[in-house]
């Protein structure tokens, strides 16, 4: 498999706190890569640095051999990056369907002048409906996003990201807040999309699901990468057990 994105030497400081220290790994074309680590490990920060909403102190993000680390977020999105948020961020003034339809029309809004003279939303709404069906919330497509349960909004985030036709899908804890049936179903949906060729980088705390669906795991702890490899081997790694599982066991014991 060839590299889709090479993430090299990412360092992010927030004030005096170092959130990420020299993190490097690559994302291969077509793989399902899980990004795990205890709370505060820097996973979300890393995802946000890749999409461009956090500015790293230093980093290189080679997407198909081109460094995108200096590009503004909207240009990274146009090059094929899409991201879902851990804390959902739907557009409150729109229906569920239009949240996705806007993303489905990303080519129409690329140029403001063209967007001005472009009116029909029906093709994008059809596409959005298909995506809402694939995540299982098509029946409430015309409802406002206000007041929807977390399970719906999480799936809306995934559908909206897919509508961007991304080459690399960045998912930040898409399963959090879902019950285990919903979580397994959404994980299956994402795994299905991955089987069709989409490269996925997913942060997840739900270890059962991430071990089930991902091909490879990268583990962060305290801003450092401490492991990178096959999920089963990674989970047997001593450093990972101490940093991740060990801590939880200690927590459980106490």
């Amino acid at each position: 498999m060839s590299d889709l994105m090479q993430i090299s030497e990412v360092t992010v400081d927030f004030g005096g706190v170092r959130a990420l220290s020299n993190v490097s790994f690559s994302v291969e074309q077509g793989e399902f890569l899980g990004l795990i680590g205890p709370n505060g490990a820097g996973k979300t920060t890393l995802l946000r640095a890749i999409i461009g909403t956090v500015t790293p102190q230093s980093a290189r993000f080679m997407l198909f051999g081109r460094d995108i680390a200096r590009l503004p977020t909207y240009r990274r999105a146009r090059l094929g990056l899409a991201m879902t948020h851990q804390i959902v961020k739907p557009f409150h003034s729109m229906t569920i369907l239009d949240n996705v339809a806007l993303a489905a029309g990303h080519r129409r809004i690329a140029n403001a002048l063209w967007a001005m003279s472009s009116f029909s939303r029906s093709a994008e709404r059809r596409r959005a409906m298909g995506l809402l069906e694939s995540v299982g919330i098509a029946d409430i497509a015309d409802k406002s996003v206000v007041g929807q349960p977390m399970g719906v909004l999480k799936r809306l985030e995934v559908a909206r990201a897919l509508a961007m036709d991304p080459k690399l899908l960045l998912l930040d804890e898409p399963l959090a807040g879902l019950n285990h049936v919903e979580a397994a179903r959404l994980a299956d949906t994402v795994a299905g999309i991955n089987r069709e060729g989409m490269t996925v980088l997913m942060i997840e705390h739900n270890l059962g699901e991430i071990l089930r669906v991902s091909h490879r795991l990268v583990v962060l702890d305290n801003g450092y990468k401490i492991a990178d490899g096959h999920p089963v081997e990674v989970m047997q790694d001593q450093a990972v057990r101490t940093a991740y599982v060990g801590k939880e066991k200690k927590d459980a014991a106490s």
């Binding site: 129409r108 809004i109 001005m116």
Partner: protein, 286 residues
């Protein structure tokens, strides 16, 4: 129609152009502006100077529109760095800056303003027809933008800039487009006002007109073109029909702004929508 009614109708149409322009910036794109009258003033002064230099009506109006739009884009650049309440302060500063600078310029007539602006030469009724046509044009254009994909992207920018950019919206371009279009409309309104009044002073374009036009947008319902047009008509007529309001205009507008924000943040348009909704659901139940 008497001269009084004609001039009142003309003023309503000018205010509609002004308010629909601000609605583009504040309503569609979510960028608050407390200095909209500065662009109204730029249009008025520019058109007046050009007209006095001998230019024809269309040329003067166009110059006012273009000049206000250019300055609008420059002010719009600040909206890229500051947001929400900070942007409100910045735009308010722009409003004061405009009045402050114009007052000191001998070439612009200083405190005394510009008088004996050439006549448009089309008669009061003819001018009203022109202003009415332009107000209809601006309103139609605004409705078209709202329905277009540009309007869709504006909704996203107004809701959440960061998420919009993740969905590949070039937030910078859209904000500047909103400022350019909205302030150009204000410039057009200013040019029309200069021809209508034929005498302008800096205070015509100060803080109070800025708040008045913001009031029209807020009362109408931020983002709703029809709501804004209706509110503009009502708020322009109100001080005329109730003379005592004229003396307490600022007080009434302030109280109105407060009441709308507190009790009906979506303005007339929002209240009408919930009323229709309530009637429909009642009808459905019965």
């Amino acid at each position: 129609m008497g001269i009084y009614e004609i001039s009142l109708a003309t003023m309503i149409c000018i205010n509609i152009i002004l308010a629909v322009g601000l609605n583009m910036i504040t309503g569609f794109c979510g960028q608050i502006s407390l200095g909209h009258a500065a662009f109204y003033g730029i249009g008025a002064y520019c058109a007046a100077m050009v007209a006095k230099a001998g230019a024809s009506l269309p040329v003067s109006l166009l110059m006012g529109l273009v000049m206000a739009g250019i300055v609008g884009v420059i002010v719009g650049l600040t909206s890229l760095r500051v947001r929400e309440d900070f942007l409100a302060i910045v735009t308010m500063g722009v409003g004061f800056l405009f009045v402050g600078v114009v007052r000191q310029q001998e070439a612009l007539g200083g405190e005394l303003g510009i008088s004996s602006i050439p006549s448009h030469g089309m008669g009061k009724l003819g001018f009203l027809a022109l202003v009415l046509f332009l107000a209809a044009l601006v309103t139609a254009f605004s409705l078209l933008i709202k329905r277009s994909w540009m309007g869709f992207a504006f909704d996203a920018v107004a809701d959440d800039e960061d998420t919009a950019s993740i969905l590949s919206v070039d937030v910078t371009a859209y904000k500047l487009a909103a400022f350019a279009m909205g302030t150009a409309m204000a410039g057009l309104a200013g040019g029309l006002y200069a021809y209508f009044a034929r005498f302008i002073v800096p205070d015509d374009f100060g803080f109070i007109p800025s708040i008045t036009v913001l009031c029209m947008v807020a009362v109408g319902g931020v983002g709703s073109v029809f709501g804004v047009v209706i509110a503009t008509v009502i708020l322009t007529l109100m001080p005329e029909f109730f003379r005592f309001i004229s003396d307490y205009k600022l007080f009434v507008y302030g109280a109105l702004l407060f009441a709308v924000m507190r009790f009906a943040p979506e303005g007339l348009a929002g209240s009408a929508r919930s009323l229709v909704h309530a009637i429909q659901s009642k009808g459905g139940d019965g």
